[in-house]
Subunit: 216 residues, 2 copies
DNA sequence: TTATGGACTAACCAGAAGGTTCATAACCAT
DNA sequence: ATGGTTATGAACCTTCTGGTTAGTCCATAA
C-alpha cells in the first residue's frame, strides 16, 4: 500500500507570531462578546493555531483576557505620548488634546468595548495589568501643565482639577462610542455619519474651552 | 405511627409577586454579571421560587433579560417626566435638568450597568422592548423647549441640537458611573466620595451652561 | 364535592465549554 | 547525529448550563 498520508503541512515554529495571532483573535472575540460571552474554541478557530496554544501561552481564558486588556491600554498611551503640546499655547494645546482624545475613541471602538467589558467585571482583571496605571499619569501631567500655563496667562480659570477635567473630556468621547448602539436604536441616528461626528467633535471641544474660560 | 410530617409551608400563590421577585433577582444578576455571565440557576436561587418559573413566565433567559431591560428604562422615564420645568426660566430649568440627570445616574448604577451590558450586545434586545424609545422623546422635547425659550430670551445660543446636547449631558453622567471601576483603579480615587460627587455635579452643570451661553 | 386550570416543583438531559493528555515535530547546542 | 528543549496538534474528559419533562398542589366555580 502506497504512502497515502497527506503531506504534513510544514509546521512553522514561530512563538511570537503565534502569540500575536492569538492576541489579535482574542481581542476581536472579547470586544465582540465580552468575557463570558467569548468562546475559547471560537478564538482558537480565528487563529491559525489551536486551542492548546492558548493554554500553553496564556494559561487560562482569564489570563488571555488580561493580556488583551493590557495590550489595549498600551495603544492609547502611545497615541497620547506621541503629541507634543509644549510648543502650543494653552488654548490651542487644550483644543488639540480634546480632539486627539475624541479621534482616538472614534477610531478604536474595540478599545472602548474592552474597557466597558472590564467595568462590567468591576475592573477585576486590571490588577493583573499593573503597568496600565502608568499611562494615565502622562495625560494627567500633560493636562496639568496646560492648566497651569493657561492659568498663568489668564486664559483658564484657576484651581481646575486635572483628573476631573480628563473625565469630562473622555467621558463624552467614550460614551458616544460605548453607547452608540442603544443611542442609535432610541434616536434613530447614525452616529458615525460625518455630519454628526463633526458636530460632536466641535461640541465637546467648545464645551471644555467654554468651561475653562475665566469669569463665567 | 404519628404524623411526623413537617407543617407544610403554606405555599402562597401570587403570580405578580412571583414575577416581581424573579425580575428583581434577574436585575441584580444581570447587572452584576452581564447577559452571558449571569446564570439562570443563580437567578432562581435568589428568588423564593424555582428555575422552572422563570421559563414559565419569561420563556427564556433572553426573554427575561429583555423584560428586565424594559423595566429598567421605565424607571428613568418616570423620574424625568416627574419634573415640571415649564415654570422655570431657561437657565434655571437647564441647570435643574442636568442635576436631575446626574442624580439619577448616581442613584441607579444598576440602570447604567444594564445599558452598558446591552451595548455590548449591540442593543440587540432593545428590539423586544419597543416602548423604550418613547421615553426619550420626553427628554428631547423638554430640552428642545428649554432651548427654544432660552434662544428667544437671548440667554442660549441659537441652533443647538437637542439630541447632541442630551448626549453631552448624559454622556458624562453615565461615564462616571459606568467606568467608575477602571477609573478608580487607575486614578486611585473614590468617585463616590461626597467631595468628588459634588465637584462633578457642578462641573457638568457649569460646562453645559457655559457652552450654551451666547457669544463664545 | 368535585373538576378544572393556573401556579408551582424536582429530577433530568443533551450539548456546550473550559481545560487536559499524550504524542510528536521542529529547533538548537554540542 | 543526538539529546534535550520548545512548540504544536488532535482527541478527550468533566463540569456546567440552559432548557424540558412529567407531574403535583390548590383555589375556585359549578
Amino acid at each position: 500500500m502506497p504512502d497515502t498520508a497527506l503531506p504534513p503541512r510544514p509546521r512553522q515554529r514561530d512563538p511570537d507570531q503565534t502569540r500575536r495571532s492569538i492576541l489579535d483573535a482574542a481581542l476581536t472575540e472579547f470586544a465582540e462578546k465580552g468575557l463570558s460571552g467569548a468562546r475559547v474554541d471560537e478564538i482558537a478557530a480565528r487563529t491559525a493555531t489551536t486551542k492548546r496554544m492558548i493554554y500553553y501561552y496564556f494559561g487560562s481564558k482569564e489570563g488571555l483576557y488580561a493580556a488583551v486588556l493590557e495590550e489595549m491600554y498600551g495603544g492609547i498611551r502611545d497615541a497620547e505620548q506621541a503629541l507634543d503640546l509644549g510648543s502650543l499655547d494653552p488654548v490651542a494645546g487644550m483644543r488639540r488634546l480634546v480632539e486627539i482624545t475624541f479621534d482616538y475613541h472614534a477610531a478604536h471602538p474595540e478599545f472602548v468595548r474592552m474597557v466597558a467589558v472590564e467595568n462590567i467585571h468591576n475592573a477585576r482583571h486590571l490588577e493583573h495589568a499593573p503597568l496600565v496605571a502608568d499611562r494615565n499619569d502622562t495625560v494627567i501631567r500633560t493636562l496639568r501643565d496646560l492648566l497651569d500655563r493657561g492659568e498663568r496667562e489668564g486664559v483658564f480659570r484657576p484651581r481646575i482639577d486635572a483628573v476631573d477635567l480628563h473625565m469630562l473630556i473622555s467621558g463624552f468621547c467614550f460614551y458616544r462610542i460605548s453607547n452608540r448602539h442603544t443611542l442609535q436604536r432610541i434616536f434613530g441616528r447614525d452616529l458615525t455619519a460625518p455630519a454628526h461626528v463633526a458636530a460632536h467633535r466641535r461640541m465637546i471641544t467648545e464645551a471644555v474651552l467654554a468651561w475653562l474660560r475665566p469669569e463665567g
